[in-house]
Amino acid sequence: MSTVDRTRAPEPAALRDFSFPEVQRRDLPGGLDLRVARMSRLPVVSAVLFLRAGEATLDETRAGLACLTGDALEGGTRNRSGSDLSEALERVGARMGVATGWEGTSVSLSCLAERFEEALALLAEAVREPAFPEAEVERARSQTLAGIRQRAMDPASLASDVAARMIFAPGVPYARPVAGTVASVEQFGRDHLRGYAGASFLPGDGGFVVVGDVDAGEVADLAGRHFAGWSGSPPGGGDFVVEPSSRERAIHVVDRPGSVQSEIRVGHVGVARSDPDVFSLTVLNTLLGGAFTSRLNLNLRERNGFTYGVRSRFALRSRPGAFEVRTAVGTEATAPAVREIVAELEGLVGGGPTGTEVEAARDYIAGTFPLRQETAGQVAGRISELVVYHLEDDYHDTYRDRIRAVQVEEAHAAARRHVRPAEAQVVIVGDATAVVPALEGLELGPVKVVTPL
């Protein structure tokens, strides 16, 4: 006695609204921008200390120094060895991590709310009084160098690193791997790290974001106490112009004999985080390659079975990052997959997206927004983006409305402005002997076999 109609999708019930958690803001002495949001369902806290100590401010000779300094931060303080610091954190059930990128260094902390004060004291000590003992610096450097070796033999990482070099002009920081090169990293010693931390691990233009089962006033008191007397600003820099390596499409093949798959990257210089077209591009990218039902995935995976998956994205940084399509396909499918990717990009620029696609993409992005703010760590990450990119305070409150406002004409105009298949650099990491003839047969541009790095 079924009472349901299986022949059509059930109607949704009334939508219950979602609000991004309210953020309390204070400026701490020393220039640190404190932002606190309460999420009290579980007794946990996630915090992020963002410092404007990023790789984009470093020239090529110092590439990787911010990353290495961040990695060595767990090496201990004036009063504690590295192992003592780790033990102290784990004793209060806290996890601390350091992530360094182009924009800065983020020190993150997560723990139960009742242990937050103890954990925060340890984080402050680690950042403000790092000792960088010789053995710890050597360890971090050896790990980084071994990691570079691993990236060179991992086809996906290798493809991404070569694509960056082919997309950006020489000298643009984004052209190099964020963690630096063997040549730059080998030269760093204890003094470089101490010097860098002394000059750049400073609160100016940075932020401290705390989210979880906390009270904003109490957090302000605690942060005021543990960051008291801390002042100064990192030196800045990073005023570079992002130029492409080339405006002519070319196919670059890194030979990896015996590969059973080809890693493929197709990309060119994209846009900066501050570009007015960012919302249109977010919608556009979703329907191109940002969701399962995107054009690229339905074509390469669900129609042709070339791949396990394909994605596209615009890397939104302070300066224009890359627009890039990435996938891995069976060796024999390499040329057909490149042909389909380029054709999809051309189709997007030429015919543009359909009204249904734009609607579906808007609904997807706006609808999944609450799912991306479920945890204190996710919300802390969102809020720290405001600090990193100097976005307006109400950015997350208005985000879904701005996405929903994107019209099909705007998405098409954004495609014409920012997707340029004729300028794309195609990078293949695969078996050159097996893939080059068919790639040449595509007549999409010169096919060059290149050395890795």
Binding site: R41, S86, Q143, G258, F292, Y364, E374, G377
Partner: protein
């Protein structure tokens, strides 16, 4: 009351479908999560990888839902979705804005009841290629990509259901037919072999009625056939067994597999705490001694496979530096494993403290809560274990950890897999 107090109610439909509802309206989102009691351990000889291929086929449409429509509808509704296959089970899940709950119930019930009529050869051939590319991307084209397969062959004897991995072999994937899809569905994808959990923001009474309406008319199915092969095995491997690969890897790596108690017995909690003392966090023994103090390892990893049949597996690995001697890495790993026989209460307390934070944080996501409730219901008929799991870990004593080390972490229970860069030999 413990720190965890995830609410839940349990129900059972006439067709045997077990239902867990966990109401928490904090955020306007809802998770729908299904666990089927079938995984790679159920695969017949010559059909390795089939449970996972079948999982892919479950997204290819059902009688009332055309191909791609499932993804289109969930994404359009603002939802996320996926599925995973594991040795002992397969799970399917979506998280949606709470007003779209019924959409997920429709989609999940349609494929639980009416999947087979929508299957055809083209869909099977397409997903076979997708899965083969998944295998290439995640295993065959990766340095060290075959470690899992090699380790399982050493830790589990011939004919044991865990002897082969979830991804299976290319040959067996090629052999799969539409008849296999239909009979696998009829055997394993029945309500009596499944758990449905709904967690998050919903009206419990209305939801129970909806679940009954959408799932209640699906026929229950026969009891699940016994596992193929020979599921029982001795607690120890009995020796140190070895495998060595010289090839396309950037750095030497030594991977040790150890038989441990299955997930279903209390001994697993002891193994989990011992593993944590060994490898969770930067004050753990392996990181502290091998990475930090002796600097013989670039990184260390540990994982306890929570498996139900006969024995679980403790995985311990260390990656060396260029030119490291694998024998030294192995000796260092073995030394730390055996050295756990002097584990201290301070170490055990720290391990439990970090595990507790991790567990509480994992419950922040409604999808994760639903997933754990489904697991505990399917495995142990007790979703409440989610709230008491931390007590099981807290109850582990240093003496038990030391006893575990003495019994299980010796040379008579060790599978050692070594990778050596080709240019080092």
């Amino acid at each position: 009351m413990g720190i965890l107090d995830v609410p839940f109610t349990r129900h059972r439909l006439d067709n045997g479908l077990r239902v867990v509802l966990s109401h928490d309206p904090t955020a306007p989102v809802v998770a729908v999560n299904l666990w089927y009691g079938v995984g790679s351990r159920n695969e017949a000889p010559g059909r390795t990888g089939f449970a996972h291929l079948f999982e892919h086929m479950m997204f290819q449409g059902s009688l009332h839902v055309p191909k791609n429509r499932h993804f289109e509808l969930v994404e359009r509704a603002g939802g996320s979705l996926n599925a995973t296959t594991w040795y002992d089970r397969t799970n399917y899940f979506e998280t949606l804005p709470s007003n779209q709950l019924e959409l997920a119930l429709w989609l999940e019930s349609d494929r639980m009841g009416w999947m087979v009529p929508a299957m055809d050869q083209e869909k099977l051939d397409n997903q076979r290629e997708v899965v083969k590319n998944e295998k290439r991307q995640r295993y065959d084209n990766q340095p060290y990509g075959d470690w899992d397969e090699r380790l399982h062959r050493m830790v589990y004897p011939e004919r044991h259901p865990y002897r082969h991995t979830v991804i299976g072999s290319m040959e067996d994937l090629d052999a799969a037919t539409l008849d296999d899809v239909a009979s696998f569905f009829a055997t394993y994808y029945v309500p009596s072999n499944a758990v449905l959990t709904v967690a998050g923001d919903f009206d419990p009474d209305r939801t129970l009625r909806l679940v009954e309406a959408w799932f209640g008319e699906i026929p229950g199915g026969d009891p699940i056939p016994p596992l193929p092969g020979e599921p029982s095995l001795p607690p120890l491997i009995g020796d140190t067994v070895r495998d060595e690969v010289v090839g396309d890897v950037p750095l030497p790596r030594v991977i040790v597999g150890t038989r441990i108690p299955p997930y279903s017995v209390d001994g697993f909690a002891v193994a989990e705490v011992a593993r944590s003392v060994l490898g969770t966090g930067r004050a753990s023994r392996l990181y502290r001694r091998l990475v930090r103090e002796r600097r013989v390892a670039k990184d260390v990893t540990t994982y306890a496979f929570p498996l139900l049949t006969g024995a679980g597996m403790l995985l311990t690995w260390a990656t060396g530096y260029p030119g490291s001697k694998p024998e030294e890495l192995e000796a260092a790993l073995a030394g730390e494993m055996e050295g756990l026989a002097d584990a201290t209460s301070d170490e055990v307390e720290r391990a439990v403290a970090v595990t507790e934070t991790d567990l509480v944080r994992s419950l922040e996501r409604v999808g994760e809560r639903a997933d754990l409730l489904s697991m505990f219901e399917l495995y142990f008929n007790d979703p409440g274990r989610l709230n008491t799991e931390i007590d099981r870990l807290r109850a582990v004593t240093p003496e038990q950890v030391r006893g575990f080390a003495a019994e299980r972490l010796g040379a008579d229970n060790r599978a050692v897999l070594t990778y050596i860069p080709g240019d080092d030999r």
